[in-house]
């Protein structure tokens, strides 16, 4: 059974169509990459799937249940977690406290939440800074905190929004390892919005490409990079023509 199935999802804002009739599915043991030029509608798609935005038409089925109309907190409670692009975890709280917020979704008791949070913090190599305020950490660590917090909610599916943005190559390697760990060790499926091609092509089993709100390609990474529509979207028609001709 597919973990997530998006059917004919369309999202319009007044006159602007941000997501146009998009359909694809995610398996229960899969890392799916979501790429496309800036403005293609990737984050909007995430917002629609996770319930932060109501969709104009279409259907979203998650883990066998129709979640099209659910709000973001209800979606989260069903096992879908996400990170955000322009957000670096609750600045005022410490690392540990952040992760605890995630853990509190499944327990009422502080001691339980704290215990689980400490374990997750250790898994993400954040123990030395567990009691530091997140806003004081370097970017790479902050990204790990957002991921750790999301993991705290025991998700089945994790939506990562440009988690590698602003990282240097070695940090990107490190975060790739963490994503692999989340997927292989914890059995969590991942959808990954990324601009860092090395990361997304490396790690994804399949890739979906958006451009101007529409899905223009879907397939394995090695197929996608050769796809003329994709090349055209990123590099322009002339380049694509030059490649062929």
């Amino acid at each position: 059974m597919k973990l997530l199935e998006i059917t004919n999802l369309t999202k319009t804002f007044g006159g602007l169509t941000a997501n146009d009739n998009i359909s694809f599915a995610v398996d229960s043991a899969e890392i799916l990459g979501l790429i496309g030029p800036n403005g293609a509608g990737k984050t909007t798609l995430f917002n629609c799937i996770s319930g932060h935005l109501p969709i104009t038409s279409g259907r979203i089925v998650f883990d066998g249940a129709d979640i099209t109309a659910l709000s973001s907190y209800a979606t989260a409670r069903r096992g879908m977690a996400r990170t955000f692009q322009v957000y670096a975890a609750a600045g005022d709280l410490t690392v540990l406290e952040n992760v605890m917020v995630g853990c509190f979704m499944h327990t009422r008791r502080r001691s339980q939440a704290e215990r689980r949070a400490r374990r997750i913090v250790a898994q993400f190599n954040l123990t030395p800074m567990a009691d530091s305020q997140v806003r004081q950490l370097p970017v790479a660590a902050q990204k790990r905190v957002t991921m750790a917090t999301a993991i705290g909610t025991r998700p089945k599916l994790l939506l990562l929004d440009e988690v590698a943005a602003g990282l240097n190559p070695s940090e990107i390697n490190e975060i790739t390892d963490f994503i692999n760990h989340i997927h292989h060790q914890m059995g969590i499926s991942v959808i990954l919005i990324e601009h860092v091609m090395a990361l997304v092509m490396n790690i994804s089993r399949r890739v979906v490409v958006l451009n101007y709100g529409q899905k223009i390609a879907e397939g394995r990474p090695d197929e996608i990079i050769k796809n003329p529509n994709v090349i055209q979207a990123y590099l322009g028609r002339r380049y694509a023509a030059a490649q062929e001709g």
Binding site: S50, H52, S71, S72, Y73, A76, R77, A81, R82, F84, Y87, A90, G91, D92, L93, E97, M100, V101, G102, F104, M105, T107, R108, R109, R110, S111, A113, T149, A150, G152, T153
Partner: protein, 336 residues
């Protein structure tokens, strides 16, 4: 019980903070036995009352970041419930106070549901509006004495009445409110570590993210608002028995609402000690200014002018309050 353990566990504070707190607590307990003026005693009682008001406000306003400027209506509900039930039916305080809380909390749920669909300035103004509406209603409602208010009739020198909470000597009031204060403080210590406390802090930071972590933002705010309301209502009931003379203008005015918010903001909204520090600074100043300056002919209003200047300076210079200053100073020292 685990909750109790958390309530009394202050270990995440620095040693010096706990030492100061401990010393102050001893001072509070011993204070009435030492010699002092009745004026000082009443100031202390007011200090505890406003600390509690501030603590209540702090849950939704400090930790939650929702600026509520309408708490006075619950002071009124608590005070009037106790006063009316006492005057008409000789009801014990320990019965009327919980009923007051029930009424207050019920009202808070009724208006909370629509209220919390608003944010920021709109929310703040709406809280003011509801409080003023209720005050206006009380001012024309004869059952509660309308604008004249209610008076709990003069006490003959009876033995101290703990059932109805009517005492001749302030010292009894002092220890009752001190007990409430300690309970309130322990509750707040539990609250900030509890699931709801964490949820609120996440909400205050970024609501969309909080929701993505499975937090029902709307409901969390409403629950917290009810908690704040309960705090305020309890102290309101106490207020009726202590002051023995209540009227809408005194108990439910906008000034009271602002004062409550100010306690927490001045001391440090969103911190455990904030409201207490705020009350500790503001109540003595207000009391003494009123004593010395308010009475002097031709200088009417100077005490409020000074009080207003204090508010303005704090708002402009250090909105994170005294506790914010302390933390900042500590951080700077820690970095050297």
């Amino acid at each position: 019980m685990e909750a109790l353990k958390h309530a009394v566990d202050f270990s995440d504070f620095k040693r010096i903070d706990l030492t100061v707190a401990g010393a102050l607590m001893i001072f509070f307990i011993v204070f009435p036995i030492t010699s002092h003026s009745s004026f000082a005693m009443s100031t202390m009682i007011q200090f505890f009352m406003f600390s509690l008001y501030g603590m209540g406000w702090n849950t939704i306003g400090g930790y939650g970041g929702q600026v509520d400027l309408g708490k006075a209506q619950y002071v009124g509900i608590g005070a009037y419930t106790t006063a009316v039930m006492l005057v008409r039916w000789d009801t014990p305080f320990w019965v009327s106070m919980p009923i007051g809380v029930l009424l207050s909390v019920s009202w808070s749920f009724i208006i909370g549901y629509p209220l919390f669909r608003l944010k920021g300035h709109y929310f703040a103004i709406a809280t003011i509006a509801t409080s003023l509406v209720l005050k206006d209603l009380f001012e024309v409602w004869n059952f509660v004495g309308a604008a004249r208010g209610l008076e709990i009739s003069p006490i003959d020198f009876q033995p101290p009445d703990f059932i109805h909470l009517i005492f001749k000597h302030d010292v009894y009031y002092y220890y009752v409110i001190l007990a409430f204060f300690i309970i309130g403080l322990l509750y707040m210590n539990w609250f900030r570590k509890s699931r709801l406390g964490f949820q609120l802090r996440a909400i205050k930071d970024n609501e969309a993210v909080a929701a993505s972590l499975g937090i029902n933002v709307h409901w969390a705010k409403i629950k917290t608002y009810a908690i704040a309301t309960a705090f305020v209502s309890v102290v309101g009931s106490f207020h009726a028995c202590y002051i023995k003379n209540i009227e809408p203008e005194d108990t439910m005015s906008l000034d009271i609402s602002i004062l409550i918010a100010l306690m927490a903001m001045l001391g440090g909204a969103g911190s455990l000690w904030g409201p207490i520090i705020g009350a500790g600074i503001l109540i003595p100043i207000k009391s003494y200014l009123k004593e010395w300056l308010g009475g002097m002919a031709g200088l009417a209003g100077i005490d409020i002018i000074i009080y207003a200047l204090i508010i303005m300076i704090i708002s402009a210079k250090e909105p994170r309050g005294v506790w914010g200053i302390i933390e900042k100073w500590r951080q700077r020292r820690g970095q050297n």
